[in-house]
């Protein structure tokens, strides 16, 4: 394959016939460009779906309760269900192996006050693992820890926008704020990808909240992160099992969705996975169709080119070129043109995708469209093979040229 002299011959032939070479390369460049754009758009859609769930951890599930809508075991409908610490402890101990993160959650609406600035905020009382479940990112300071919970400390982690509301540009870390009448120490400031609502919020230890406001062991919700080593299907099954288990424990009718339900990210993940698979199947089909059209196109042009060069091949043969050397020359030229043109298309496509960036996210749900390095390597291999296929038929034809016919005086 690597023969410096043959490459020289090919470069000369391409270089001296630029228009012809560009024309042959055009179809492939165009096909690859389309292929790249299609693939990029598909991955952009995929990125959008992924980021739509970016607010929370991918493996999150939560148990929430409301009022019963079905009578069960002599209990009436309309009964409010209350989760307690014992329920939380039961789930986390019973399913320890299947759980990566665990946190209870209590919802409160409290006024938070600093000097003359005050406002009412959504305050969540949680366990330390909640940080990972909610994908809370610490900008300053730290999140709640186990010691805070053990000591029922009056500490608070505030959102970026809470800090902005109350402190403006001034530092807030280490300052004390008044939360519903009690003084809390700010130990951290966080941001969250989930949007403004998620950043105009504060977190306090669940134990502190239970002690201060009611002195009970009530919780509103149990949040879990299932073990990431579970398959999607296993995770869905796990969610169902927890749901059945909890209904039994709390004397709820097995079909009462309203009284207790488990919302499981695994189900959404599965849906997105199926959607993406279908999308890539369609794109792959269209993309490879385009590519095949490109290959046939270049092959056609090469056949035309061979006709145009009949005389040249006749001369070469008269001067001692073997049919094999003609085949190798044409195929190599085809591979070179295909690869260069394909790379041009690929680069152009990548540039366009980069230029698009996130500008289509709002309207068309395409976020950060791009092609992965794996696709690029795959495309290179496909291009070389395409060049081989595209060049082979014309090359065979070129090798069959009879010098006498080619050189007949004209």
């Amino acid at each position: 394959m690597f023969d410096v002299d043959r490459w020289r011959e090919i470069f000369q032939s391409i270089n001296k016939n630029r228009l012809r070479s560009v024309m042959s390369g055009f179809t492939v460049a165009f096909a690859i460009l389309l292929f790249t754009l299609l693939f990029g758009v598909a991955s952009g859609l995929g990125n959008f779906f992924k980021s739509a769930f970016a607010d929370d951890a991918q493996n999150m599930m939560f148990v929430r309760v409301w009022k019963t809508t079905k009578p069960y075991k002599g209990l009436q409908t309309g009964r409010a269900i209350q989760l307690k610490n014992t329920d939380y402890n039961y789930v986390t101990e019973e399913y320890e192996d299947q759980i990566q993160y665990q946190s209870a959650r209590i919802y409160k609406n409290f006024s938070i006050k600093y000097k003359n600035e005050a406002s009412t905020y959504n305050v969540r009382a949680v366990h330390p693992d909640h940080q990972f479940l909610e994908k809370t990112m610490m900008d300053q300071g730290r999140y709640l820890n186990n010691r805070d919970l053990r000591e029922k400390s009056k500490v608070i982690v505030i959102g970026r926008l809470v800090k902005k509301d109350l402190f403006g540009e001034k530092p807030a870390l280490g300052k004390r704020v008044n939360v519903n009448g009690s003084s809390f120490l700010i130990i951290g400031i966080f941001s969250d990808e989930g949007g403004d609502n998620e950043e105009r919020m504060a977190y306090i230890p669940v134990t502190t909240a239970q002690m201060m406001y009611g002195n009970n062991d009530y919780i509103n919700q149990i949040n879990l992160g299932y073990n990431p080593s579970l398959s999607t299907d296993a995770a869905i099954a796990f969610g169902k099992k927890v749901e059945r288990d909890m209904r039994k424990r709390l004397n709820i009718h097995p079909d009462d969705q309203s009284a207790l339900s488990v919302r499981n990210m695994a189900e959404a993940n599965k849906f997105v996975g199926i959607l993406m698979f279908a999308l890539f199947l369609i794109i792959g089909f269209i993309g490879s169709g385009t590519l095949v059209a490109g290959i046939i196109g270049i092959s056609n042009i090469m056949i035309f080119v061979i006709k145009e060069r009949t005389k040249e091949f006749g001369i070469r043969k008269a001067l001692g070129a073997t049919p094999g050397s003609i085949v190798r020359m044409v195929v190599q030229e085809s591979v070179l043109i295909t690869t260069l043109a394909g790379y041009f298309g690929l680069t152009l496509g990548t540039y366009i995708l980069t230029a698009i960036g996130n500008s289509l996210e709002e309207q068309y749900f395409i976020k950060d469209p791009s092609v992965s390095p794996g696709i690029v390597i795959g495309a290179t291999v496909v291009l070389i093979i395409s060049g081989l296929i595209a060049g082979y038929v014309p090359a065979k034809r070129a090798a069959r040229i009879k010098p006498i016919e080619a050189l007949r005086a004209d």
Binding site: Q12, S13, R316, L319, G320, T322, P323, K402, L407, A409
Partner: protein, 230 residues
């Protein structure tokens, strides 16, 4: 050098076949300067194609440099052409996008000689045909006579056993015809076997032996005055 015994060749035309060569016997020794004369349709081009290994004969024997030519596949024919034969064509047949020097060097590429050596040898032969200064010109920048001299240099560059020239002066005017014939004579004087096909008496008269062909048979085979004068 070239020995032909009872050579036959016919071409199929529809259901019929056209019998072009009807039993040719010809012996050309090393160092001869032979012309084949004949009107069009006499079979002279067919004979040249067979001698030049560009076509295959139907019956009879053909020995090139003592080797019986039989059952040649394309690859073998290509190698033999490269090794033993140099071609000069009426329409020059230079590759248009290659310079004079590159055209001359091309047969050496197929012989597997490295680029440096190729260009050096090619330059020597261009010098020999008086076109050293034109080495970097493309064919369309050369006159007809110059093109044919480049083609002759290309035919000689592999140092073949026989130079086959098919109407080498057919596309040239009288003056350039003479200069090309002089060049072929010089080559012959150095010992090269030269085999010319022509329909021009003046050209044939400058060779040493004339073989006349009509309707696929040799009707006359004589030495010219040039040969007798030696």
């Amino acid at each position: 050098m070239i020995k032909i015994e009872n050579l036959h060749k016919s071409y199929p035309i529809g259901k019929d076949s056209l019998h072009v060569l009807k039993g040719i016997d010809l012996h050309i020794k090393e160092g001869e300067f032979v012309s084949i004369m004949g009107s069009s349709g006499s079979g002279k081009s067919t004979l040249l194609n067979i001698v030049g290994l560009l076509d295959i004969h139907d019956a009879g024997n053909y020995y090139l440099n003592g080797q019986l030519i039989k059952d040649l596949n394309e690859k073998k024919a290509a190698i033999l052409r490269n090794k033993f034969l140099g071609f000069v064509f009426q329409s020059f047949n230079l590759i248009s996008y290659k310079t004079a020097l590159e055209n001359v060097a091309l047969p050496l590429y197929y012989k597997g000689i490295n680029k440096k050596e190729r260009l050096k040898v090619a330059m020597d032969y261009l010098d020999k045909v008086g076109l050293k200064d034109w080495a970097s010109h493309l064919p369309n920048e050369l006159s007809g006579g110059q093109k044919q001299r480049v083609a002759i240099a290309r035919a000689l560059v592999t140092n073949p056993k026989v130079v086959l020239a098919d109407e080498p002066t057919g596309a040239l005017d009288t003056t350039t015809t003479d200069s090309v014939m002089d060049l072929l004579k010089d080559i012959n004087d150095e010992g090269m076997t030269v085999f010319v096909i022509t329909h021009e008496e003046e050209v044939a008269n400058q060779t040493k032996r004339i073989v006349r062909l009509r309707d696929g048979v040799i009707i006359n085979d004589t030495l010219t005055k040039v040969a007798k004068a030696l």
